[in-house]
């Protein structure tokens, strides 16, 4: 049995995509959250914000909000594995004569596709917060978003493979997703924070994804972009391998 089975990857991808467009409430909900952050929190904190450079707070957090959309969409997409296990559909896929690695890859590509769609919708809002980036940056932005999405979906697959039931989901949100997101430098500049916080931010791979997006969207960054890109790709590779390993090993 070969490891890459294109019809299996296609089927997993197609199913998730169909479901995504069918579930309108989920679609609207995942757009409403970043909009709320951007306009309500962003506008609210604007005044009390000691800005760096020439950017207002809403402008500053815009790349971070794009990253946030990707984080939640990717993780949510991968976590659907737990739903499928709880409701039995996973069994139908797992008894089919297809390699599990292909199932995991299909899931990863589905999460990436949906995250890219969601992230692009937020990207379209950029004129509303007076963020203007060169058109030629669009493709690199989408590429960084894609790498970030694939990596985060991988993290989600690892979590879903290790989690016995849905009850641990809250724990995962509180102890993995939220810290990762807060410590990514998305909501506040990673400069001028206490040393211990700086260490945590620098150790978070997501930081470099957010920083890359900031570089491409706003034109400034805290870290060397190329260094960030290499780090992010390496992290993505490790996560993807882990996702495939744990999904193959999982008992369902």
């Amino acid at each position: 049995m070969e490891v890459i089975d294109f019809s299996c990857i296609y089927m997993i991808w197609l199913r998730d995509t169909i479901r995504y467009f069918r579930e309108k409430s989920q679609l609207y909900g995942s757009i409403a959250r970043p909009v709320l952050w951007l306009f309500v929190l962003g506008m609210g904190l604007r005044g009390s914000y000691q800005h760096t450079g020439d950017f207002s707070y809403t402008q500053f957090i815009f790349p971070g909000i794009v990253a946030m959309t990707i984080i939640f969409t990717s993780i949510q997409s991968a976590i659907s594995i737990i739903w499928d296990r709880e409701f039995g559909f996973l069994k139908e896929i797992l008894v089919a004569p297809v390699p599990r690695t292909s199932i995991a890859i299909g899931k990863g590509l589905a999460g990436t596709t949906l995250s890219l769609i969601q992230g692009s919708i937020i990207l379209l809002l950029s004129p509303l917060v007076e963020v203007h980036f060169p058109v030629v940056h669009l493709l690199p932005i989408l590429l960084v978003m894609g790498v970030l999405s694939f990596t985060l979906t991988g993290i989600g697959i690892v979590i879903a493979s290790r989690m016995a039931s849905f009850q641990g989901f809250g724990t995962i949100m509180n102890f993995v997703i939220m810290p990762m997101w807060f410590l990514s430098g998305a909501m506040f500049p990673p400069t001028g924070v206490p040393g211990w916080l700086n260490v945590l931010i620098r150790g978070n791979p997501l930081t470099y994804g957010v920083d890359l997006l900031r570089w491409l969207i706003l034109g400034f960054s805290y870290y060397t972009p190329w260094f960030g890109l290499i780090l992010l790709m390496m992290f993505g590779f490790v996560v993807t391998s882990a996702a495939i390993f744990f999904f193959n090993r999982g008992e369902y």
Binding site: R15, I18, W83, F89, K91, V95, A96
Partner: protein, 330 residues
């Protein structure tokens, strides 16, 4: 593949869950085209056996060939040759019936040109054509089951495994599912391997293996199994059951079983025995009846217990509750 007369060959199959032996060295064979039933109470090892035969669980001991392929060495070939209908639902209820079938066809490599025709035929077999494009979440329990059977047949498997195919369905729906299954044997030329704890369903099978505590305790046609009983069963209630029991044992040497419903025993010919019995007994006869033995009686005789019908274990109840909560959340 090699042509075999036997659809399934099982030798000493064993599953040991860290000290708990769920399946304990079972051996049997199922012929091509046969309708073979696994009958036993909850926890007897039926599902574990099915999971091993479907390559979902690795056996701890013994071996088995399904459609001529070894269940450990040729997993992929086994999977291509079988269709599976699980005990718990395994449909995507956010998709339509047709979409569920289409995805199954893609993942099982049904040629794209053939797929639409096969989907239609599967739907026709299960009489679901007019609901093909409805979301599965709006289906009744019986329709979902039929759709699962249609899906299991889509890639034209040689053997269809059904684990408790009518669990949780009402009696009318159960009967209908059985009409479909029996019709299928002719139309789709498929071997059926099913598990059940309903005695009346086991009667539909060509042969039945009765399984209890992980072991096969009897294997034969329903007729032969019932013929193991000495003849007819008599249920008797009298004014003094204890005295009557003594008299029956002394005069006729009959094994009598007593419970709150009265006395129960086997005799070669119930209709002739009853008038004699009424004349002989000291105690007053309150009620007496005779009937042909059922598989229930066979099971009772073999194990000393009755198969509990329809009672859910704590874990099942928990899962059901979880699924209801889950549905609200989604």
């Amino acid at each position: 593949m090699t042509m075999t007369e036997e659809a399934i060959v099982v030798n000493g199959l064993t599953k040991d869950f860290k000290g708990f032996i769920a399946v304990d060295g079972v051996s049997f064979q199922v012929k091509m085209g046969e309708n073979f039933g696994f009958l036993g109470p909850n926890g007897a090892g039926k599902t574990t056996t099915v999971k091993m035969l479907c390559t979902l669980l690795r056996p701890s001991g013994g071996n088995a060939q399904v459609a001529g392929y070894d269940i450990v060495r040729d997993q992929s070939q086994v999977r291509k040759s079988i269709g599976i209908i699980f005990q718990e639902p395994s449909l995507d209820d956010r998709l339509t019936a047709r979409e569920n079938l289409r995805f199954h066809g893609i993942i099982y490599k049904v040629p794209g040109k053939e797929l639409p025709a096969r989907i239609n035929r599967s739907l026709e077999w299960m009489e679901l054509e007019d609901r093909a494009d409805d979301l599965v979440r709006n289906f009744s329990g019986g329709m979902k089951r039929r759709l699962e059977i249609a899906r299991g047949l889509l890639h034209l498997p040689k053997i269809l495994f059904l684990d408790e195919p009518t669990l949780g369905l009402d009696p009318q729906t159960r009967n209908r599912i059985w009409e479909y299954l029996l019709r299928l044997r002719q139309d789709a030329n498929v071997t059926l391997f099913l598990t059940t704890h309903y005695m009346d369903e086991a009667e539909h099978c060509d042969r039945i293996a009765i399984i209890d505590h992980g072991k096969i305790i009897a294997l034969d046609t329903p007729q032969e199994l019932k013929a193991q009983m000495r003849g007819d069963l008599v249920d008797l209630q009298t004014g003094d059951d204890a005295l009557t029991e003594k008299e029956l044992v002394a005069k006729h040497g009959i094994m009598v079983r007593g419970d709150s419903q009265g006395l129960h025993f086997e005799v070669p010919n119930g209709a002739e025995f009853i008038p004699k019995l009424v004349r002989e007994l000291t105690a007053d006869v309150i009620a007496v009846s005779t009937r042909r033995p059922t598989l229930d009686d066979v099971f009772l005789k073999l194990t000393g217990r009755e198969i509990r019908n329809g009672s859910l274990s704590g874990r099942d109840r928990m899962r059901n509750r979880l699924q209801r909560i889950g549905r609200r959340w989604r």
